[in-house]
Symmetry: C2
Subunit: 85 residues, 2 copies
Amino acid sequence: MVKRVKPLSTPVQEGPLDARQLGAFVRARRTQAGMGIHETAAFCGVAVDTLTKIEKALGDVQLSSVLKVCGMLGIVLKVEPWDGQ
Amino acid sequence: MVKRVKPLSTPVQEGPLDARQLGAFVRARRTQAGMGIHETAAFCGVAVDTLTKIEKALGDVQLSSVLKVCGMLGIVLKVEPWDGQ
DNA sequence: AGGTAAATACCGCTATGGCAGTATTTAATT
DNA sequence: AATTAAATACTGCCATAGCGGTATTTACCT
């Protein structure tokens, strides 16, 4: 009777990051960690609304919110260098 | 007598991306392209204020603004996969 | 199918990001 | 040092992101 969060598989990114892909990564990471939305939002220091918007790519969000969530969930963002490293 | 934009070198990123590093990448990319702030803001479809905030990491910005700027300048953001690709 | 927890939807309220336009300061080139 | 464009600073307005709290819906588990 203990309800669990169904873990999603890590998406494969091709091309530059967009909001939808970012959301997929966040949701995958969260579910793989077995965490709920409310729990995770509190853990990351953002509102449930905000985390939902990130995961579902609804509307817009602040960069700081994205960085908070990625930071707390251990999602590493990289800029691909356009010249030799 | 034609004033030029002084090109900055591409920064080296270590660790997860933060607002300051992102700004450095954007400014490096813009100056390497020989573009001014006003020109670039218009080209990217954001206000001068917004581009300045991104480059100097002042205050906060919308994710959509960041993605617009990165997209137009050819800056590629990647999520580092946490399991085998 | 029923019970239970997670996810989503809804509600104002407040804070602030985004914008255009202009004025001012800074800095690159001769 | 003078010139001229780029960069920054300032102003006000509007739109909306962020928030907590609660209510509702969805979906997992036995």
